[in-house]
Subunit: 354 residues, 2 copies
């Protein structure tokens, strides 16, 4: 449960949830439903979801798959479909897919007729542990990631862990980056658990996955409860993201997966924390080792020069009045948002080739 | 003052306000300002506003003028400019112009980095008495007006009545349609005042204008206070709009001005109310006469056939679960939102050529 007063909503986590109408139907407000999915996910799960929606007017919008389609043009296809099928203000949008589908469907729901209801059915690890929870919705702009969006909460989140079985290995591993993030920013015990259980997670042991998804959502829900609109502490969820977004923008969206860029970004932020004297060399190596075990990148590609990197970091949303603020680690398991770091450390770090 | 708890904001109405920093500067949060205006208004008032913004980073986005540019593509030009000039989350957008500029700037502010502050400086009568107050922001979609948007309140509204001096006559008269609306839906005394003072208003008597803008904003603010997100009573502000939007969509945006379409729509809604027996023939003629005095249209163009009209009315946002709801008059000065009207009356009315 994400506790946000009258915008609170439940998160259902478990196996075979897609066949159970009791988690979905009570959260649909009217008689119309628009399922938004993509070309990869729809063939796998769309008919299953449609089956439990008998009695509703069910329409679908199938988007192309990939971060590079997360833009205003693709968003407009959802609006086109809603208007063509005469969906009214009581309609419910359902996001069936990964983070990109969830972010776009949520933003479409926030804007369509100035706001209609929506439900998240995340089908990737990344979406289940991170993007589907907390109400951040957005599309990208050529000049910056997630620059156009809204805070808009879903009616409920349904994380069916069975859907992870069809997830390609690379995407699954990218999702683990965000799982590791919770350990780093606020849950040292969980980080230790991950060190001991990464083998099981990589082998997709259902019990280990269920625990990791639960624990991740629990951490995220607590942070969102404390600070829904990111006035303060919520920014720690962006650990590794200022570096990561710069990587994604420099390469063009879609080269690296989001989780891959975040993994590299987390190591860079940890290294800066180490140079500040907050994290030991030993702890930093634990971070590198855990992410390398997931076969994730642990530094930005060498092709991005320092100048470009700095300039891309400075358009990041964490910049307040010209001052670059970063999420750094005070210790392993405790993050802080600060502009109080040595800019020279950052500059030499960006020139380093690790 | 619009009373909305922690989202309350003041409305300043008067002469020469554009030269007074005390109404503007206290409502700017950071050091960056983006003024959004259009090609018609910018040459008249942009430099004036810039003068009182010394000390801020002031950037501008000048949009083409007209309802037909109120779409996602034009919206994106505002995002382009904000990102090119590296505006961060503490930036303040200023809408300097009519309803189209206000609606787009407000929606851009709602979406940019998931929400930044904005200020309304309406320069048309329509915007001063209606669109700048209440937080409705949106762009159009080819399939429907204002279909993509947000409820998003400004920090303040500055209505400088001097700016109406440069307003073309046709636009000024179109704005009077919304003024008349407040009399019809909830302020019978104001309607009587308008009948007695329309000559003065048409002659642009400053005192009469100031009174009409004040009284209109007062009415609007009270309705918005009661129902910010249009769950109920706020819908009465859409009196004439379901008919009016159908006219605008059928013709393509920009053929008739918004206020002209609303004038025709209000007469059609009044005529339907008359057929329901709620308004007398005599009162209906008072409405027609007052609008004709403003040289406003008092019926839809004959070129729109009944079939088209019905179908366009049914995608309007006031349709709930397939039932068309209309704002009608229970009497002159009292509106109601209802689906409880005789559909045959509506059909024959749409075939009538008045």
């Amino acid at each position: 449960m994400v506790d946000l007063g009258d915008r609170s909503y439940p998160i259902f986590i478990g196996e075979s949830l897609l066949s159970k109408p009791e988690h979905l139907c009570p959260f649909i407000s009217g008689s119309q439903v628009m399922i938004v999915s993509n070309e990869t996910i729809a063939p796998l799960y769309l008919s299953k979801v449609c089956q439990i929606l008998a009695g509703y007017q069910v329409d679908t919008t199938i988007l192309p798959d990939g971060e590079k389609f997360k833009n205003l043009d693709t968003l407009n296809r959802i609006f086109d479909e809603l208007l063509s099928k005469q969906h009214n203000r009581t309609t419910t949008l359902i996001a069936l897919g990964g983070g990109v589908v969830g972010d776009m469907t949520g933003f479409a729901a926030a804007c369509y007729q100035r706001g209609v209801n929506f439900i998240q059915i995340p089908t990737t690890l990344l979406a289940q542990v991170d993007s589907s929870v907390g109400g951040k919705t957005a599309v990208n702009h050529p000049k910056g990631k997630n620059m156009i969006g809204a805070f808009y909460q879903p009616q409920c989140v349904i994380a069916d862990t069975d859907t992870l079985n069809t997830l390609p290995d690379r995407e699954y591993r990218a999702g683990l980056a965000e799982v590791v993030k919770y350990g780093l920013i606020r849950d040292a015990d969980f980080f230790v658990w991950l060190e001991s259980n990464m083998e099981r997670l990589l082998a997709r042991d259902p019990e280990a996955i269920a625990f990791a998804v639960h624990r991740s959502c629990e951490n995220k829900a607590k942070v969102v409860h404390e600070d829904e609109k990111e006035g303060g502490v919520r920014a720690i969820l962006n650990f590794g993201h200022t570096f990561g977004h710069a990587i994604e923008t420099a390469q063009g969206y879609g080269e690296w997966l989001h989780g891959e860029a975040i993994a590299a970004g987390m190591v860079m932020a940890t290294e800066l924390s180490r140079r500040m004297g907050w994290v030991s060399e030993e702890d930093k190596l634990r971070v590198v080792n855990l992410l390398e075990q997931c076969q994730l990148p642990v530094w930005a590609p060498k092709s991005i020069d320092r100048q470009t990197f700095m300039s891309l970091m400075s358009v990041d949303k964490k910049v307040l009045d010209g001052t670059l603020r970063l999420v750094l680690l005070k210790s392993l398991g405790e993050a802080t948002v600060t502009s109080d770091f040595d800019a020279d450390y950052l500059r030499t770090l960006l020139s380093a080739e690790e």
